[in-house]
């Protein structure tokens, strides 16, 4: 496959966006242990190229749905980070009005459909959103993200079958970080090249080196164009790695430090930084300016969240059921 040439502006955008994701998540981790963020918290650190590579390929009306490692997916669709941080704090200014928390980032105007806590639950939902788009005759594409653990769920097969049968415009994106919590891909099935599952349904599929944002972009561009032209779904297996544990309380003793270091040596942000400097797209001073800008944005996210109020008690029953007099609700 021919490698796309990327402009200076694209590299600068990737660097800034990926650095923002990394710094945002690092801060979220710190705030968690200081108990500003409670409950569950799954960080995206190490996997940034997957989100950044999608940013440069989709349009405003496209849909995004993912599982619970979902803090940065709203950024793909242009949600301002401070609203995600406020959601992590459980504040009323959060994307889900402070009632969703870490695992439930929704933004209807941005067409971000969550944030789902049930492993693999978002796979048929993603196919359903794509069905709605096809039914309405739009050419909007749905990006449906899942982890390597979710791939072992039965719902995946029914969703793949129907998506293929009805030629739904959905890109199924496996974020394969090698471990379903602490269980390695090798221990969950004989099929360890996850993209080959598409073959069972004649779904076009490909593996992608997701430590490279360029590779992610090129793969996404092909897959999104395929969907947009009405040719049906596409499966991409993003081979990535998370540097932190599965969640905040995971000491990650199931893997070696050497393995983690091996992946950190291929860090997607570092790679883009090297390109920026080598091709003289940016000077050291310009890079420093971006780093400072990103730190300021994250500081602003925290300040905004600290200063926002918690939801009012009257919000408790709102947005739970569409039917207002649903029998379970007693005032």
């Amino acid at each position: 496959m021919a490698k796309t040439k990327f402009s200076k502006e694209t590299y600068l955008m990737w660097y800034e966006q990926m650095l923002l994701m990394r710094k945002f998540e690092e801060r979220a981790g710190q705030l968690y242990i200081q108990q500003k963020i409670r409950g569950f918290c799954h960080l995206y650190i190490g996997q940034e190229a997957i989100a950044a590579g999608a940013m440069s390929t989709i349009k405003a009306d496209d849909n995004v749905i993912t599982a619970y490692r979902d803090h940065v997916h709203p950024f793909i669709k242009g949600v301002e980070p401070k609203y995600v941080m406020a959601e992590l704090f459980g504040k009323s200014t959060g994307v889900s009005k402070g009632k969703g928390g870490s695992m439930h980032m929704f933004s209807q105007p941005h067409r971000v459909f969550g944030g789902h806590g049930i492993v693999g639950g978002q796979i048929p939902l993603g196919a359903g959103i794509a069905f709605a788009e096809k039914y309405k005759g739009t050419n909007n594409v749905t990006l449906c993200y899942m982890g390597d653990g979710a791939v072992r769920q039965g719902a995946l097969h029914e969703a793949f079958n129907m998506a293929m049968l009805w030629k739904l415009p959905v890109v199924f994106i496996i974020e394969n970080n090698n471990y379903a919590m602490g269980t390695s891909v090798e221990r969950t099935s004989n099929v360890i090249e996850l993209y080959t599952l598409g073959e069972s349904y004649d779904m076009p599929a490909a593996p992608v080196n997701a430590m490279s944002v360029e590779a992610v972009h090129d793969a996404m561009e092909i897959a999104v164009a395929h969907c947009r032209e009405g040719k049906g779904p596409y499966l991409l297996e993003m081979k990535t790695y998370r540097y932190r544990g599965h969640s905040m309380s995971d000491p990650a003793k199931y893997r070696t430090k050497e393995e983690v270091e091996e992946y950190k040596a291929q860090d997607p942000i570092q790679r883009v930084l090297t390109t920026l400097l080598e091709k003289k797209y940016a000077s050291e001073a310009q890079v420093e300016a971006i780093n400072e800008k990103v730190n300021l944005i994250v500081d602003e996210c925290v300040k905004f969240s600290e200063e926002s109020p918690f939801p009012d008690a009257s919000e408790l029953y709102k947005d739970v059921y569409a039917q207002e007099d649903y029998p379970f609700i007693r005032e």
Binding site: Q34, G182, S184, V185, N209, M211, D218, S249, P251, K253
Partner: protein, 152 residues
């Protein structure tokens, strides 16, 4: 300016932590991201990386001792700085009624053993030499249909 490093809440159910190993001594320079201590929670032994910069001025507890979440774990600041005022002020403040005496009387645990940790911490590290992202084997039956998009 000296700053207090509190005992972090490393799991949702953690109420106190035991320092099973200090990785920095008083006088050492600590940078954001440096491993400060290994902390045994109710679930597992976690590595605690500092998110502050400074010289380690004070360690609140010794190895093997427990202290509640939010109690003083350490103090970072500039070399030679007097941290006593900030320590006194903190201990006078929020953490007072129940936590303060507990922090002082915490019994040193006799050598926390690795086998005391819960099962999650005991899963053996698996060498995953075959899981590098750059090495993708393409099954023969897929050769026609699959576009290989790997970029080095």
């Amino acid at each position: 300016m000296a700053q207090i490093v509190k005992m972090p809440k490393l799991s949702d159910t953690m109420t106190e932590g035991v320092v099973s190993k200090w990785h920095k001594s008083v006088g050492d320079t600590v940078k954001n991201g440096d491993l400060l201590a290994e902390i045994e929670t109710d679930k597992a032994t976690m590595e605690f990386e500092s998110f502050q910069d400074g010289v380690l001025l004070y360690r609140g507890i010794e190895e093997g001792q427990a202290t509640p979440v939010d109690a003083v774990l350490a103090i970072l600041g500039e070399a030679g700085e007097d941290f006593q005022p900030i320590l006194d002020e903190y201990n006078k403040g929020a953490a007072k009624p129940t936590e303060e005496p507990k922090a002082e009387t915490a019994q040193p645990k006799a050598e926390p053993k690795a086998d005391e940790a819960p099962a999650t911490a005991e899963v053996k590290a698996q060498p995953a030499a075959e899981s590098k992202p750059a090495e993708v084997k393409k099954p023969h039956y897929l050769k026609k249909k699959v576009q290989v998009l790997m970029v080095a």
